[in-house]
Subunit: 245 residues, 2 copies
DNA sequence: GGAATAGTGTCTCTCAGACATTATCGA
DNA sequence: TCGATAATGTCTGAGAGACACTATTCC
C-alpha cells in the first residue's frame, strides 16, 4: 500500500442521494424531485445533496431527508446506507462520489420541496423504472437523471429482499396497524398476491414481530381488525418467504 | 435540494479499504498490513489506498487487491462493495471517506507487501476482533488502525450472512473441490460444526450449486471424494441454514 | 486390520402452501 | 340482507435435523 500523501490526493465531492420508498394506493412509490438547473434540467432525480465538512454520512442523509420531506428518521421511518456510486463520469461537471441511502417511510402527506408541489412527487417505482410498458425505455427522457435509475433499482431490490428476513415492512406502516395493512405492504413491495390466511398465521406466529395493542379498527371496512405495533425483533426467524416469480 | 455549487463543495479524499477473507487451517482469516507511517504507525490495518482521479471504485479496489496480494478478481476470487465509512474524525489528518470492499479468496500463498513478509499477514478474524479472550480489548494496542475493526466486523458479518443464500462459499475454494472441503469452509466461516451427511445431501441436492467434474481426489485422506466445480447459480434456493447459536 | 474420510438411507418434526368456514362490521 | 374484511382450522408435501450404516483409500 502506498503511503498517504495528504498534499497529493485527488479531490472529490461527496454527496448523499436518497431512495425514499413508501406504499401509497397499493403501490410501491419513490420520492422524486425535479431538477431546476443543468445538467439534466427538468428531469426527475432522487433527492440528495452535498455532505458538509463536519457531518457524518448518516447525519447528512438524515438532514437531507428532513429538508425534503419534513420526515425525521426517528419517527417510524427507517434509514440505512445503501451503496456508493463513484463512476468517474457519473456527473459531467466534476468527480462526485455519492453515498446512496435507503429510507422506508409510512404513507406521508404530500411531499414538499421548498413548498413547490410540482417539483417533488411520489412516483410508482414501476413507472420510474420503465416497467410500465413497452412504449418507454431508457434514454427517452423518462428515465431519472445521472445514474439514479440504477440507484433506485438497487434500493428497491434491497427493500424487497430485506422485508423477507427482517421486520422492516413495519416501517411502511403507521405506528399501529392491522395484519391486513401489513399484508398489503408486502403485496405492494413484492408485487404479488399473498394468501391472507397463511399470512396471518405466519406473522402472528413469528416471535417478536408483532405486539397486539388491544385496540381494533374498522378503517378498512368489514369486521374490526386487531391493531398491532412492531415488536422488538429486528430479524425474522424463520423468514417471510417471497413467492417465486 | 440545494443546487450544486461546484465552486463551494467541501473537498474529500476517497479511499478504498479491503476486507480480504480466506479460510486457512480451518479458520477464517483476514489480510492485515502493518502501517509504516503515522498515524497508527506500527499498527495492523486493512489494506487500501486512494482512489485515483480516473478510476471507478471497483477498479480501485481491484487494483489495490492486485498490488497487495497479486490476486486478480477474475481468478476465482469474489469482489463486492461492502459499505462506506465517513465519520469526520476517522482519519486525524483530513476528511477521508473510505469505500470498503469485501474479497473472498481461496487459500493463497503467503501474502506479499512490497516483498516484506513481516508487513502483511493472514490473521484469524477471531484474534483481530478480540474474540480470543478476556485479556484483550479495544484500545489496548491490539486493535486495528482507524475504524478498521468495525469495517472488518461488518465484512465478516456480510460473508457469514451471504454464504447462507448465495453460492459464494465456493469463492473460498480452489477451482475443483470436494463436498468435505466446502463443508469445512462453512464450518470455518460460521464457527460451527455441521453434520456431514445432511450437508452432503443439501449441497448436492440444491440445483445449480455444484457441478461434478467426474474426477476424484484423495488429498484429504480416506475414501476418494468426488470433485466439483461451482455451478452457475448465484442464489441458493432453498438457502443453507446457519445453525442457531 | 485400523484409522480416516466419503457417500447413502431412514425417521420425525416443523412449516409453507392450498383451501373452507365462521365472525363482525357498514350500507 | 348483502358485501366487505377478519380470524381460525385442516390437510398435505417439502425439507431440515438427528442418527446408523456401508464404501474406499492409506498406513
Amino acid at each position: 500500500m502506498s503511503p498517504y500523501d495528504p498534499s497529493a490526493f485527488p479531490p472529490f465531492a461527496v454527496t448523499v442521494d436518497l431512495v425514499v420508498l413508501t406504499v401509497r394506493h397499493h403501490a410501491l412509490c419513490a420520492l422524486a424531485v425535479r431538477r431546476g438547473e443543468p445538467p439534466y434540467q427538468g428531469r426527475w432525480a432522487l433527492p440528495g445533496g452535498f455532505v458538509r465538512a463536519d457531518e457524518d454520512l448518516t447525519q447528512a442523509a438524515a438532514r437531507e431527508l428532513a429538508e425534503e420531506t419534513g420526515l425525521h428518521a426517528q419517527n417510524g421511518a427507517h434509514l440505512e446506507q445503501l451503496a456508493t456510486y463513484g463512476d468517474p463520469h457519473r456527473d459531467p461537471r466534476m468527480r462526485v462520489v455519492s453515498v446512496a441511502h435507503l429510507v422506508l417511510a409510512p404513507d406521508l402527506p404530500a411531499p414538499r420541496a421548498g413548498g413547490d408541489a410540482r417539483s417533488a412527487r411520489w412516483a410508482p417505482v414501476g413507472e420510474l423504472l420503465h416497467d410500465g410498458g413497452p412504449e418507454r425505455g431508457p434514454g427517452d427522457g423518462s428515465s431519472l437523471a445521472f445514474d439514479h435509475d440504477r440507484i433506485l433499482a438497487d434500493g428497491v431490490e434491497r427493500a424487497r429482499s430485506k422485508i423477507e428476513y427482517s421486520s422492516l415492512a413495519t416501517a411502511f406502516c403507521p405506528p399501529e396497524f392491522t395484519v391486513g395493512e401489513l399484508r398489503r405492504v408486502y403485496e405492494a413491495v413484492w408485487g404479488v398476491a399473498l394468501d391472507p390466511r397463511n399470512f396471518h398465521r405466519k406473522v402472528t406466529g413469528t416471535p417478536g414481530f408483532l405486539v397486539p395493542t388491544g385496540g381494533t379498527t374498522t378503517r378498512q371496512g368489514g369486521r374490526p381488525a386487531q391493531l398491532f405495533r412492531a415488536g422488538g425483533a429486528a430479524l425474522l426467524n424463520p423468514p417471510m418467504l417471497r413467492p417465486e416469480i
